[in-house]
């Protein structure tokens, strides 16, 4: 059966010249099913030697074609021998999947600060600028923002971690009280905010609320 194994790889695998890797693999699997050791369909048709010859020819064909570089090489040889036209080979038209969800949909974008997870921060020494602000009795949104920036945390990080919208967190920092939810939810937001930055939550909550109280008065 040696003449059978002299065929072009593509003929042997019964695939077109521009077959995709998926088709190549499928063709090889189907043919392997045909010629393997215990294939009942091939029983008595070949001697063992013939069958092994065919299997190794199939393997060679598969390994050549499934590797992009080896395939290019092989195609070039075919073109040289006049067995194949140039440009008719496989063109890889696969693309990256289109991102479906963009968390940057919100118009309020704050891109200050690198993406360091808050847990990686070292413990804050008592006299850093952030700590100084933190000690205040009343924390305005602006204060929270300063602490956040000094702690190298971005709004996106907080949004991702706490699952609150960036717009909401931005409203918090800009003292846009009318955009904030009722008290019970607001406490939760402040707690998450504080946790993400790595500062004590209770103090943040109380101070901000005091700030809100005093602002309402004006």
């Amino acid at each position: 059966m040696s003449y059978h194994t002299e065929q072009m790889h593509y003929e042997l695998l019964e695939i077109p010249i521009d077959a995709s890797p998926f088709e190549i693999r499928k063709a090889y699997e189907e043919l392997f099913e045909l010629y393997r050791d215990d294939s009942i369909a091939a029983y008595s048709f070949f001697s063992t030697a013939e069958r092994m010859e065919i299997i190794s020819a199939l393997e060679r064909a598969y390994l050549t074609l499934i590797d992009a570089a080896a395939r290019r090489n092989y195609d070039a040889q075919l073109i040289e021998r006049g067995l194949m036209e140039e440009g008719k080979g496989y063109q890889d038209k696969s693309r990256e999947p289109v991102p479906m969800y963009n968390i940057r949909r919100s118009p309020f974008i704050d891109t200050t600060g690198p993406a360091i997870p808050p847990a990686a921060k070292k413990a804050d020494p008592g006299d850093s600028p952030a700590a100084m602000i933190f000690k205040k009795d009343i924390l305005a949104g602006e204060d929270l923002r300063k602490i956040r920036i000094l702690s190298d945390v971005s709004l996106e990080q907080i949004s991702l971690q706490s699952k609150f919208k960036i717009g909401l967190l931005q409203a918090l920092e800009e003292d846009r009280f009318e955009l904030l939810p009722p008290l019970a939810y607001l406490k939760g937001i402040l707690k998450s905010y504080a946790k993400c930055i790595g500062i004590e939550a209770d103090h943040v909550v109380q101070s901000y609320l005091r700030h809100m109280e005093s602002s309402k008065g004006t």
Binding site: M1, Y3, H4, E33, L34, S39, I40, A41, S44, F45
Partner: protein
């Protein structure tokens, strides 16, 4: 004309032949069944005609002048039978001339479908009847023994065709030359023989090629149990196509059913006794595919509409 053969005895040729005959007749085609399983004729029992009055031997012994006169009617309208019921006991050893006479007469009959129930094995009697037309149905079971016999049969047909075509063109000399060139070009590897013949004598190789390509074979896998791989048939067809370049179409799997035994014992057709079994469904599917080829042929031969 549809010879139906299979390498192994008991693979179900007679059941398939009889059932196909019944199905085609019911579809409205004038169908003739011919039992040429010399020495082991069973078709009449399978289709439910246990005691036919006439048989093929009557023609061979010249009791009747033409083959048409051995045709009997069956309980199925549109289905006719030339049985082997009362054949001579030595009919399996026909002289060559008698065989040719039968071959010629059969090919002169005119029906919509002629189904020939051939015997098992690969004797010349079987093979020559198989080559009476370009179509042919091979019946196998999913066992390696049956498959081995089927391959043997197909190769014998292939080899016989080569012999036939080269008969007047010095076949012996060519095959000896081929043997010398490559010791593996023996009967067990007729495809290699073809390749070598093409090299040595491209003209005859071409003729041979054309003759072999004219074959339109079909494969039926009978007696499929639940645990058998249903893909065996298509795989066999693929191997035949890849290595012998013969057209082998897969006609279908037919499920094994213990109740076939009952039907045969009752000497009644299985299709009528158990019409709603998987086996009956499979047989009907095969029948439809066979009928399709006829309707396709009729379409291609039909005159163009004005």
């Amino acid at each position: 004309m549809w010879p139906i053969g299979g390498g192994k005895g008991g693979s179900g040729k007679s059941l398939l032949t009889g059932s196909l005959g019944i199905l085609l007749a019911r579809d409205g085609y004038r169908t003739l069944l011919v039992d040429i399983d010399f020495g082991a004729a069973n078709l009449h029992t399978i289709i439910g005609l246990p005691h036919p009055e006439k048989s093929l031997s009557d023609f061979i012994n010249k009791k009747v002048p033409t083959l048409e006169e051995t045709v009997v009617e069956t309980p199925f309208p549109g289905l006719f039978l030339i049985s082997g019921a009362m054949n001579n006991l030595d009919i399996a050893n026909l002289a060559h001339e008698q065989k040719m006479k039968i071959l010629r007469s059969i090919s002169r009959l005119s029906y919509d479908f002629i189904l020939l129930d051939l015997g098992a094995g690969t004797s010349f009697n079987t093979i020559d009847f198989f080559m009476i037309s370009d179509t042919g149905v091979f019946v196998t079971t999913p066992e390696p023994t049956a498959i081995e016999n089927i391959y043997r049969l197909i190769r014998s047909v292939y080899f016989r065709k080569i012999r036939q075509v080269l008969h007047t063109h010095n076949f012996r000399a060519l095959s000896l030359e081929a043997e010398e060139r490559n010791p593996r070009a023996t009967v067990t590897n007729p495809d290699l023989l073809l390749h070598i013949i093409k090299e040595l004598d491209p003209e005859k190789g071409d003729i041979l090629d054309r003759e072999l390509r004219a074959f339109e074979f079909r494969l039926v896998v009978n007696q499929c149990h639940r645990q058998d791989n249903p893909n065996i048939g298509p795989l066999i067809c693929r191997i035949i196509q890849r290595h012998l370049t013969l057209k082998m179409q897969f006609l279908g799997n037919i499920a094994f059913d213990d109740r076939v035994h009952n039907a045969v014992c009752k000497k009644m057709p299985f299709l009528d006794l158990y019409p709603y079994t998987q086996t009956a469904l499979d047989l009907r599917a095969c029948g439809n595919r066979v009928a399709e080829t006829k309707s396709r042929m009729q379409e291609s031969l039909a005159p163009a509409r004005p």
